[in-house]
Amino acid sequence: MLKILKYSFFDLIRSRWSYVYLLFYLLLGFVLLFLNEDLSKAVITLMNVIIILVPLIGTIFGVMYYYDSKEFTELLLAQPVKRSSIFIGQYLGVSLSLVMSLVLGLGLPFVFYGLFESAAIWDFSLLLVTGSMLTFIFTALAFNIALYNENKIKGFSYAILMWLFLAVIYDGLFLMSLIVFETYPLDKFTLIATVFNPIDLSRILILLKLDIAALLGYTGAIFQKFFGTNVGLFLALGSLMIWILLPVLNIYRKAKKKDF
């Protein structure tokens, strides 16, 4: 598995797209900090980017890589290598290279602008951690979709649809249900509804860490009580971990049985 991981990883690292991705983040980080030297403000702006862009890129890269390396995968399958290690190795290769681009791309400008002396370092590391987790989650989901769909076009559209659903449509439905049921006590519902969407979960996790929390009023107070403590933080990160584990286990399960 490690060999395949290494292969996928270096294959991707040498590819143009990783560089483009890395350069994009580098540019974003530098431009943000150039325009606004306040690190904590830059963290807020970055949050908006990370919440939307990281899942999208994870999804597209995941699907793309799976379909692109399909022939190579079939070649590998003919060798005496465990199936699960082929797919998990590929998955880890893709997601790790994406995570590396993210961490390096955003980390370098911030370190350059004096992150280590700044109070924003914890917020920033939380941002990177959630960003990395989102990458893992969405790459895994993309691999799942690709494994289930032989047809490239279909796979792509499903993947994009999945991203669209979690990034936009879910919030729309969430908002609608909150307004429709406004006469009922909704705090438990909101809490549960956010846990079921990794994008929402990471958004709120970061929002609460930045001091916009007081804006959130009564609902915010409940969330603050839940996520604001260390227990809540680990619980939230734990549920993000579950979001990674479940799709990965499914890759494992599906890859074992799949007919090529």
Partner: protein, 415 residues
């Protein structure tokens, strides 16, 4: 020349008293003739100065019932030993200067204060240091006095058993200036206090309000700083208030406001700075208020307009990087927004007259939704919310369609 005896006697006594009142000074210290402040005051005649030398005096309920000056040298300390009021003033023309008053007793039935001025006028209270107090300076039915350069530091922990820094009750024409008030319940509290001037004070870290107005008309407060108070500043049920060049900052919490206006009519709010408050100004039932030249920076809500606000004008204000600029809970609008600067304005100025050619709509759809269902705030900064805000901006359906700034400034307004 022949004087009749009574006249002569009168003249002599007049000179004697006149001479005496200009110069007489009674000194209080450990080794002096008078070793207690009370004894010193008892011996003083109207117009005298009671000079208190540095030292610790354990006294409370010191009553001043004649026009004298109580002057401290090198900040002597009067310790009230938690027994009630420390100094009570019942006479006109009293000056209290340069003392340190500590340990005012707290009570659930009486408002004990370090200094209580009752039914007096023309007093001056200055250069005091107040520590461990219940109420600090308590003025009841007092008139035409000055409270200045005092330093008040309380140790309030909870609202029900703490008092206010400077409290005015049925007092007129009082000048409160250059005081620093920290860690009490309300920094400055005014109830039925008219024609007062409150200037250049610092009110910080107080449990409830930095400044609290009730039923007080024609007051002016300028150049004050209100910082990190539990609920900011509250101005309620008052008319013709002028607020200029104040700073309202860091009042952050779920129920904190920079400035809370309730039932305020005909006020002028100009050139103030509201920075990093959960809500910059919360307005409720206030009419004919002019907001000009204020800066709202990094607040959660810059202005939250609740019901029944008519004929208010917002002109030449700067709205910078607030999460929500203006929030309305109704679809009716009778207030005017004109020539303000909005950091979120994306329009253009083709004719280069300094005003944007496209009107700006300060109320976002999302802020309208949040007003209706507070729980939805949890979706703040999500992509979906940005999308609906954008569509509402393009074609307003839910927000009041006449609520717009026809001529938004292209550059920050500066004064």
């Amino acid at each position: 020349m022949i004087f009749r005896l009574p006249t002569l006697f009168f003249l002599i006594s007049f000179f004697y008293y006149g001479f005496n009142s200009a110069n007489a000074q009674i000194t209080v210290c450990d080794s002096c003739e008078f070793t207690s402040v009370k004894a010193g005051i008892k011996a003083a005649k109207p117009g005298d100065t009671v000079l208190i030398k540095a030292g610790l005096y354990k006294e409370n309920s010191i009553i001043i019932d004649k026009p004298i000056t109580l002057l401290g040298e090198n900040l002597p300390t009067i310790d009230g030993e938690d027994k009630g009021d420390i100094i009570q003033v019942f006479a006109d023309d009293v000056t209290i200067d340069g003392l340190k008053l500590i340990n005012v007793g707290s009570s659930y039935t009486e408002d004990y204060a370090a200094i209580r001025v009752s039914r007096a006028k023309n007093f001056v209270i200055q250069n005091l240091e107040l520590r461990k107090i219940f109420f600090g300076i308590y003025l009841e039915k007092a008139r035409e006095g000055i409270v200045r350069n005092n330093n008040i530091l309380g140790d309030a922990v909870s609202e029900h058993n703490s008092g206010n820094g400077i409290q005015l009750w049925y007092s007129k024409k009082i000048e409160i200036t250059n005081n620093s008030i920290q860690k009490v319940r309300d920094g400055i509290y005014l109830e039925f206090a008219d024609d007062c001037r409150i200037t250049k004070n610092l009110s910080k870290d107080n449990l409830r309000y930095g400044l609290h107005f009730m039923f007080s008309n024609d007051d002016v407060y300028n150049d004050n700083v209100f910082e990190n108070n539990g609920a900011g500043v509250a101005v309620m049920f008052s008319k013709r208030i002028h607020m200029k060049r104040n700073k309202f900052q860091y009042n952050w919490g779920t129920a904190a406001y920079g400035l809370l206006l309730k039932e305020i009519n005909d006020a002028e709010i100009a050139n103030n700075i509201f920075e990093e408050n959960t809500t910059g100004i919360n307005v409720e039932g206030s009419n004919r208020v002019n907001y000009t030249g204020n800066t709202f920076k990094n607040n959660g809500w810059a202005i939250k307009v609740k019901g029944a606000c008519y004929n208010n004008e917002f002109i030449n204000n700067n709205f910078l990087y607030n999460s929500f600029d203006v929030s309305y809970n109704a679809r009716l609008n009778d207030n005017k927004f004109h020539q303000n600067f909005w950091s979120e304005y994306t329009g253009y100025d083709l004719d280069e007259d300094g005003f944007g050619d496209v009107p700006y709509r300060p109320v976002k759809l999302f802020s309208y939704i949040v007003n209706r269902t507070p729980e939805t705030i949890i979706l703040m900064r999500s992509l979906f919310v940005d999308i609906i805000d954008f569509s509402e901006k393009v074609s307003p359906v839910f927000t009041p369609d006449n609520l717009l700034d026809e001529a938004p400034l292209m550059k920050k307004y500066s004064w």
